[in-house]
Amino acid sequence: MSAVHPAGTAHGRGIRSAVRLAARLSVVALTLLSAATLAACSSEASGTEDGPDVLRVLAGSEVKDLEPMLQRSGVKVKISYTGTLDGAEQVASGGADGAYDAIWFSSNRYLSLIDGASARLSTETKVMASPVLLGLKTAKARELGWESGAVSWEQIATAAREGRFTFGMTNPASSNSGFSALVGVAAALSDAGEALSTQQVSAVTPKLKEFFSAQRLTAGSSGWLADAYTREGGVDGIVNYESVLLGLKGLTVIYPSDGVVTADYPLTLLASAKPDKKDLYGKLTSWLRTPAAQKEIMTTTHRRPIVPEVRPGPEFGSAPLLELPFPNRRAAADALITAYLDEVRVPARALFVLDTSGSMQGERIDALRRALVTLTGADTSASGTFSRFRNRENVVLIPFNDSAGQPKPFVLPERDPEPVLAQIKSYAERLQASGGTAIYDGLRAAYREAATGGDGHYTSVVLMTDGENTDGSSYEDFEAFRQTLPEAQQKVRTFVVLFGESDVDEMQKIATLTRGAVFDARTGSLAAAFKEIRGYQ
């Protein structure tokens, strides 16, 4: 499991796990299992809480808000969170077998398109439902004449093309809400009436460009997107689950009359789960579908109930929700994501501030080289392919040690990116480690660089360092320098990667100051952290 999480999602279950471990070991002793089994269990349990009475679930961060409620289910549940696409690949490849008993993402649709995935899944139990919708500030919705609700995606796309509103949405390659919205918009704008094929994706791409020209904010997860919107505003609205939108103040939720894509949160047993775990799964899903639990889910999380006995409350409105067809071939789904990344979205301008000080020598500089090479196409998995540097993107690598090095720009063309990807790879492979650590000189260089070029791009900075600042300017100097920048440059976010002996407090301060986020690669791999950050760029 990747130990990479954006700041604020740290897991604090050390004590609980110790208590459970003790309880579990006593159960093991009671049941007189063989000595060999006992030994295997205790070594396995040293890091995680596990045992025959614990249901281990691999889940998307979208269901995190239900975790407290599960404690009352009577079933011990241990949830590990991962990205939608990463999770899907893990399950399809068999990597989840044995490590988990069940999975819980907002949808199994993309997963089901991967070869071999369906054989790894057993019983599926839908737990709740939430369509992916557009939420607009009420004043803006009124200005556009949309407060009554009867608006089509076509009308929304026209207003977007005319620059009449801006919005934020998650990256469809990282997050299910963004992917669902992309599928919905593409299906509605294609006017096809049946599931999108690869050819229809090409045909609808120009219309998608118009719609997404209004996108000004992106994110790797729907939760972070909602937080960023709440904190900063900055855009007129966001695309997110209805449940998230209903939880935000001052938003009018638009229910497109030509259809939506709805998440149904199937808690799904893995075929590899042992009989004990299957019983736990049965208990948990039965409990989740009791009217009481369904009502609680509805009132506390704004998700629609999934059992007919519990009717949706008035907050969901009375607009009939037409469900748009979802692609049934992986090629079509992948073509849609690829079109979004390479042609449709506002292209990224990614500035990487990279620590090449002496402490990075050896394994660490190797890890950094590998992490960058991963983004040049070396990782051929779906998540790797989608997180690599994309067509039209600008990449600037800024190594630093005693001082900031010369920023090295790479411009990816509209097609055939391979030669430029090869240049980035070769540059990354030649990075050497020596000297001091002038973090803020590096960061200042990035923000100065951000001023030049980058028109029509979505600019962000990644800061990766393995230690404390030893040379050049200080955090305070950087803070003062940043205030002198034009507003557009001040808005550039810095995504900080913790690595080695990073100064956690100061790194957090940088992320907070620039409204970025912190990613922890101290226990996981640097490449995984870089891949995750790609969702935010």
Binding site: T31, S122, T123, E124, K126, P308, A331
Partner: protein
Amino acid sequence: MKRSIGIVLALLLGAVVVVAVVLGNGGDDGPATVRGVIGSEKKPFFDDPRVRAAFEKHGLRVEVDTAGSRQIATEVKLDDYAFAFPSSLPAAEKIKRDRKVAQTFSPFYSPMAIATFKPIVDILTKAGLVRDSGQGYQVFDMEKYLDMVAKGTRWDRLPGNTTYPARKRVLMTTTDVRTSNSAAMYLAMAGYVANGDDVVTTTAQIPKVAGAVAPIFLDQGYSQSSSEAPFTDYLVMGSGKTPMVMIYEAQYLSHVFAGDGSIRPDMRLLYPAPTVLSKHTLVPFTPQASEVGRLLTEDPELRSLAAQHGFRTADPKAFADLVAKHRAPVARDLVDVVEPPTYENLEGLIANIEHLYESGSVPQTEGGS
């Protein structure tokens, strides 16, 4: 089970003698657990506390996992289970042969049916797809439906349709034909029509028939793998997601008979013409599982419970009484019933359609016919 032996032993020692006698399996730790893999539409039946209690009277605790019937016949590791209970005879025959099982049980059956809504029925009646049988139920014309799918007709283009102006195509929601039996049964009836009103009986007929009926599956887009899922969507999300869905009659009737309020006044049940009967068939791998099959077939209480769950059993009166009591719009005697193809021919049709999914090509260009 093993882990709880220590605790359960002390508590239940006195109470389990009967079980041991009945089953003769030497187990003395409460009801013997028999785990089966079943089609998802039967899960509510096996989860019913009354059904569980009825089995426990005979010293059995039946636990089930769900999977598509085709998955049960091909992909599921059956060694983990004491029985398989797919939803059709062809899948059961295959398992019976593969596992060299002597005796199978077909305790109940259901005709395939369509769950839909009154406004949709009105639109389809105007379009000539739905007509009254004169026997108290309405039928859905498969041949006219296949014509409509071939033309790519959209809901908003149907004449006189003001109540469901959706821009999407007129397509029956089904499960994934590559995994699930209810879709395979639907394929059987559509294939019958496409084969000139005849059961597909030769491999030579397969490519043409598969090519002709493939769009009713492929054009839907993503379809779910188990029969309970789209029916849940129908009940919960209504016509926006699922204007009409292919189901087992029992799925609908179980809610009507239970009077649980989930079948609302605007919901309707139609019978496709022709339809096929889905014969739920239990294939046992252990003596205990045979006992489960025998009880389902013979035990009066379990038979009565099966009828309450909407299944038709060897005791037609139980079913007829429930229909009368709830005034359910049920076809007592379906005339237009066809046999599904043999396992091999049905599998051949599915494999052809599966190939169309994989190749990504549209069926019309693929078959060349």
